[in-house]
Amino acid sequence: MKSSFDKIYDALRSVKLAVVLLVLLALFAIAGGIVPQGKPADFYLSRFPGPKSVIILRFGIDHVFSSIPFLLLSSAFVLNLTICTFHRLTGEFSKPRGKRRHGPDILHLGLIVLMFGAVLTARTRTGTTINLRKGESADLPDGAKIVLVDTTYEQYPDGRPKSWESTVEIYGGPSQASSAAAEAQHAVRQFRIRVNAPLRRKGYSIYQQNWHTEKEVVLKDPMGMSLSLDQGARADTKDGFVLFMALAPSEASTGEAGSPTTAVGTADLAVTAAPEEAATRAVFLLEQNGMRTVVKAAPGEKIGAFTFSGYLDQSISGLAIVTDRGYPFVAAGFILVILGVFITYIRKLKGMLA
């Protein structure tokens, strides 16, 4: 006679339960694969008119993968997998050495490690994007500073992006630098970050996430010195200032990452002289002796004591700074899963070729 504990144990480690849970997980994923996830409620009301949107919102189909039923189901699956894995593993160890088959064990263990990593990622991953112009800096999670030294953007002849790359310098670091590694982090070092080639630092990684251009205005002061202003920036004068407010409406243009509308090679400060830009007007706020006026001007015109000499395209590099404590576990899980699945089937398929 089996005790009820044994019965529960047997049920929890059964492959039948695994099949049922796998099918249920697939059904949840299908719901999440059909209905766009994580959009605002209005989106569903307009996209799925009538009772459909009510069902979607009521049952959390707009965020299936973080909904309670899905998380409960996943937990049940992990429990099933864990019990089953350890049961099989102990069974395998009680066999004579030559008869053991550890492929499925390695694979199942890898999945457990992977799911542990997934939970860690879901709970602790942080990601922020910083937008840097050449020469600008930002703080990093470990207290170090990152400075954008240069950006390069290349295009194919058809206008599609070929590469984005940022050259950065990192200096400073964890305040109590004692170990040799921390010392190394202290020194100023130059790195190149490209799409698909992130910069790995202790505890976080930096990714080239996007790239775009913004127009700056170039002004000449009475002495003939050039200075450039990005939107919202001002240049002070003896009796007031000039502030670059915006490009005149309908004339604004920025290049979005991936499909830039403005062609830029390297981010060298070269004043653009494209004919269509010569006519583009910019809006300035001018203060002289306490009097403020809004001035619209095209290149060549005067704004107070300055001459508005033209525009330049400033490239802005979007860098994502990500901490993900789960990923090392995920990566370890991946290695085990691949090892396990190949060991399992290479053994099984030996002799398949006639």
Binding site: P198, D324, I338, A354
Partner: protein
Amino acid sequence: MIATVAFGLFILSLIIQIIYLFKKAGGQDGISHWLSLAAGILLLVEIVRRSIAIRFVALTGMFESLIFLACALAFLIFALRHFKSTKGNRVIPFGATIIALTFLALASSPLAPADVKPPVPALQSGWLVLHVSFTFIGEVFFAVGFVSAILQLATKSEEKRQNYDRATYTSIAVGYPIFTAGALVFGAIWAEKAWGVWWSWDPKETWALITWLTYTAYLHFRLVRKSTSRLVPALVIVGFAIAMFTFLGVNFLLKGLHSYA
């Protein structure tokens, strides 16, 4: 041009196979698998030619993906004559040839523009090449499993059913590890390197996961169900339908991060 010749070779191969299918007695023809091999080599030449033109492995667009699938399937059709579980079978290579032809027909449709384009930054990655190639190689084995599972359901003879079951299982047993490595592991590694997120539940990822869960369910179901169960091969048929939806349907019907590939 090269793809058109390969298409012609597949058509010829199909005609020969049809003639032999109608011959009651006799074994397999001696030509069709060679035609398939020739088509595979031609398609490989096309992939290499395009790769040289863009200085990257030409696997980043819909057209190239379809050509790669047809190419891999062409080689597999040739190899089917040498596998224990499919040797001497006339119907499985026939079904697989129809699928290869379908891939090529789609490649020549307006859905898959054939212009040669070098990849955008996100696609310039060795992991992407591994991700796509392993996924597709896994999927051509799933294609053979799909044909065999249909035959397994259709046949009335118990002996044939068992043979088909073995052929189905063997195809999945080869395809599954390759697909697991390609679609899930290499895909996630690539996503992490490119975007800093190894999993983001975008539609393509979600559907790849559904495909994988379906085949995982098949492998476990087969462990516990009696060999006469019709549900077991049904999962393989559904699995391939989902794999093809992941590849084609998600691109055309749903939009996400992957909509460019």
